[in-house]
Symmetry: C2
Subunit: 153 residues, 2 copies
Amino acid sequence: MCAEAVTGTLYLDDVKVGEVFRSREQSLDTEDVIAFAGRFDPQRFHLDDAAAKDTIFKGLAASGWHTAAITMRLLVESMPLADGLIGAGVEITWPRPTRPGDTLRAETTILDIRPSRSKPDQAMATLETLTYNQNGEIVQRMQSKNVLYRRRG
Amino acid sequence: MCAEAVTGTLYLDDVKVGEVFRSREQSLDTEDVIAFAGRFDPQRFHLDDAAAKDTIFKGLAASGWHTAAITMRLLVESMPLADGLIGAGVEITWPRPTRPGDTLRAETTILDIRPSRSKPDQAMATLETLTYNQNGEIVQRMQSKNVLYRRRG
């Protein structure tokens, strides 16, 4: 557990549409999967490998919210915006499950930047963050709307 | 931490469009907010009340992913589907922050049920889950697509 804030240096002025941000890798094991699910998504396919065998997942799978939370960690570290990543909204799909033993990484592309008409120091950026497992398969697709700030002073 | 699976009894046959499912309440405190953020969303407005004062949040706020994870817990308990809540995709917005000391509850409405053409035992349900704080203010709006199964045998 680390409670040190990730601090960034990037402002709206420093980024452009099409730019890609790549994260480090993060592994998760059976214990992680079960601990997260026990707290936030206590369904049998996220808690017990034997009980998960006869479900649509055909074995223990991480909660999609666990994949999303790990992705946020990777995104915060890999896209160091000076004023932080402040999401106005997100759309997520999980094309395949995250499994115990997987190693995830996130790749974020700036799809669009729209300056605010009413607030000249702000813009709304649309980001696409794809989360890959160690086989290069996509386990999560996310599009998010994020507030970006201009450098001040 | 509880790793006991929530087991449900509801099938596609048992639910209908317009039905509403209400959860219990769940409180969160400063320690919860900081612990989740330290692990998954280490940004200063989620970690340190003093540092959060001069941000858009104007004080310590929970990560949106923390609100989402708590909402999932409340949803799993309050909508006990026999085969589980299996999300194909979600859309989320956070109209206002969740704060330390808040007590959240979730209310889920079935917006739509579409039987699968290729899989007669399945349907896709669109759910709207609204997460409220203790003042009745919405802290999260979520729409999700979920697989529902007919009762078998």
